[in-house]
């Protein structure tokens, strides 16, 4: 008996009991659908991260300064790093300090708790390219300039949430209060997320020197409130730097230079952390990859359960069809004819289950993509979220489901093949 006849027969016997066939393949359907959804979402996320990476530029290096941790006041000032950049212009093309300020924004008597306040220097904005080192561009007005930073000007550049929702549009020249001090809006960024509160559009830039002062004042208040007298609770300096290398190939060298410089001051590799964009990208990709492997492994349990379900039903089916097996044997079916008939039946069941699972998975993934795509885009600052499975994932899922049918169908099929013809014929 050849494959196409066995296949037709398998389809026929599946069609005679559709409900049972469907329930049998349900485990496979769910397992495959889960795998497809996971892979699609992971794939979408990776794609989004890669877009982000391209947008930020592969030459971005982030430097975080934690301090020596021994109470010492040693630090690396912005001037130190500017000097480094000047010394190695073939590697380092830009340095901007940044300070994350913990204070609140206030406008018209209302507090905005979620606004991210960054203290940066004018270097953050690359006027040649028309956007900041980390990819933000201006909608209107201008960015901070050298004079703003060196003179501690109370000016800020705001995101669209603040500009449009809080200040009601036409934000240039309006003032809002940051840490109790009025700041004038000199520029508005382009929308990069969904303009909602707490999103990437709920942010503003002020000169880093101002941000250091705000943080120092806040700490002094806290210390006073806690009754600690004397001392200012440490020195306040920048939290880190955004550095650009001249291009993506010099990023590693630039990172080395920066690390050397930082080590010279701190004598402690735990005092700072330098990471290039491509390292970040790699570790993010690795994280998503690991997560996907774990999730797919969990989904694979469902495939295993599905396989056991198929085996179970095939065993029942062999028993029910004992007489049929006896008839076939009396007509000259060899062991392998019977075995291949049942294996093909199991394989067909799981293959159909696999196809349904792939379809269901694609549908669910695209639905999930539509539902969370906007949110993801907002969280990650732009980019499109495309939850489609890779052709390889589809191919492998289909192959695995057929394989499961064959694997778990083998035992029942072999049992059928070994039946003694008279016993099988006598079976009622």
């Amino acid at each position: 008996m050849n494959f196409s006849q066995a296949f037709k027969l398998a389809v026929k016997s599946l069609r005679t009991s559709k409900m049972r066939a469907f329930l049998t393949m349900l485990g496979i359907v769910i397992g495959v659908a889960a795998v497809i959804v996971i892979i699609s979402l992971g794939h979408g996320m990776e794609g989004m991260m890669n877009q982000q990476f391209d947008k930020l530029g592969a030459n971005l290096i982030q430097v975080r300064i934690y301090g020596a941790g021994d109470g010492s006041t040693r630090t690396v000032s912005p001037e130190d790093l500017y000097a480094l950049a000047k010394k190695y212009p073939q590697y380092i093309s830009g340095v901007s300090p940044y300070v994350i300020s913990q204070t609140k924004v206030r406008f018209n008597g209302e507090d905005y708790q979620h606004t991210s306040i960054y203290g940066v220097s004018e270097i953050l904005f690359n006027s040649d390219k028309g956007h900041t080192i980390d990819g933000e561009s201006l909608r209107e007005g201008r960015f901070l300039q050298y004079i703003d930073v060196s003179r501690h000007q109370n000016v800020c550049v705001v995101g669209t949430f603040l500009a449009d929702q809080v200040l009601g549009g036409d934000a240039l020249g309006k003032t809002l209060s940051i840490g109790g001090v009025p700041y004038t809006v000199i520029g508005v960024l382009n929308k990069s997320a969904d303009s909602a509160e707490g999103s990437q559009d709920d942010q503003l830039y002020i000169p880093y020197s101002n941000a250091i002062r705000i943080n120092a004042a806040a700490a002094a208040d806290k210390a006073a409130a806690a009754g600690i007298t004397g001392g200012t609770g440490g020195t306040y300096s920048v939290d880190g730097y955004l550095v650009t290398s001249t291009d993506r190939n010099t990023a590693a060298a630039a990172k080395g230079l920066i690390e050397n410089r930082l080590f010279r001051t701190f004598q402690d590799t735990d005092a700072y952390f330098v990471v290039t964009a491509s390292e970040m990208m790699d570790s993010m990709n690795a994280m998503v990859g690991t997560m996907m492997v774990v999730l797919v492994a969990i989904a694979a349990i469902s495939l295993l359960v599905g396989g056991i379900g198929i085996m179970n039903i095939m065993l029942v089916s062999v028993t029910e069809r004992t007489r049929e097996i006896g008839i076939r044997k009396s007509l000259g079916a060899k062991r392998r004819d019977i075995r291949s008939q049942f294996i093909i039946e199991a394989g067909t069941t799981s293959a159909i289950g696999g196809l349904l699972g792939i379809l269901l998975g694609i549908l669910l993934a695209s639905a999930a993509g539509m539902a969370i795509g906007g949110y993801m885009s907002a969280q990650m600052g732009g980019g499109t979220f495309n939850a489609v499975p890779t052709p390889a994932a589809i191919g492998v899922s289909f192959g695995v489901s057929v394989g499961i049918g064959i694997l778990f169908g083998y035992l029942p099929a072999n049992k059928a093949a070994k039946l003694n013809p008279i016993d099988a014929l006598r079976y009622e």
Partner: protein, 250 residues
């Protein structure tokens, strides 16, 4: 070359706990090409056991069985399957058609296992169905046919592979007497056309339609000869209830 079918001192012994049931108790028998033999005997006399051995569905406990000169007991499972496929055609009391296959597909089955191409399978299956006058029902499912028609389909299936022997175990057992006669008529016709037929029955009125009768009792041949001989249809008086269980030896 010898006979088509040859039993030499065949024993079939079933071990039931401590009891040994001799279903066949030293049977020697030879059947030649073109014969129409009825194997008769009371229930439990060993008819089906004999037929299973002839049909290569079972092997003797001792003694030898040659089919077309081949010693069947030396063959493995798959080789026996090939013998069944090429040399034997079965007609069972319960028809044994596969319910989800239509008439044509049922008749094609032995040809499928013989590995014939689709065109030839179909042609030969239709021919076989024509021989039992059912060529107009090839698309029907077995459940859409009467008992007599189903039995004719099973005869067509037995014929389709051009076997050396057609084995029929109580082929009329499930049919009313009229349909039974009709089915028997087909078997006679096949024999007249040259096929060898071995028919198993406990019914004398059917057995006499064969050319030769072999009577079994308690696993032994007690008569083997012409069907027209009056002794062929005489049931020995001493066969009582004990015969039903076959001969029991402890």
């Amino acid at each position: 070359m010898g006979h088509l079918i040859e039993f030499r001192d065949v024993y079939k012994i079933y071990q039931m706990g401590t009891e040994a049931v001799h279903a066949l108790d030293g049977v020697s028998l030879a059947i030649d090409q073109g014969e129409f033999v009825a194997i008769v005997g009371q229930s439990g006399s060993g008819k089906s056991t004999a037929m299973n051995i002839i049909g290569c569905l079972d092997v003797p406990t001792s003694g030898s069985y040659h089919l077309e000169g081949i010693d069947v007991s030396t063959l493995d499972d798959d080789q026996q399957a090939v013998i069944r496929n090429k040399l034997l055609g079965f007609v069972f009391q319960q028809y044994n058609l596969i319910p989800k296959l239509n008439v044509l597909e049922n008749v094609e089955l032995p040809l499928l296992y013989a590995g014939l191409p689709a065109g030839e399978r179909r042609q030969r299956a239709v021919q076989a169905l024509e021989r039992v006058s059912l060529a107009d029902k090839i698309r029907n499912l077995p459940s859409q046919l009467s008992g007599g028609q189903q039995q004719r389909v099973s005869i067509a299936r037995a014929l389709a592979g051009h076997p050396s022997v057609i084995l029929a175990d109580e082929p009329t057992g499930a049919l009313d007497s009229h349909t039974g006669r009709e089915v028997l008529g087909f078997l006679q016709k096949l024999n007249a056309e040259g096929d060898t037929v071995v028919l198993i029955t406990h019914d004398n009125s059917i057995a006499v339609r064969a050319k030769r009768i072999v009577r079994l009792q308690d696993g032994r041949v007690i008569y083997d000869g012409d069907a027209s001989d009056p002794r062929a249809v005489v049931q020995p008086a001493d066969s009582g209830a004990g015969a039903d269980a076959g001969e029991v030896r402890i």
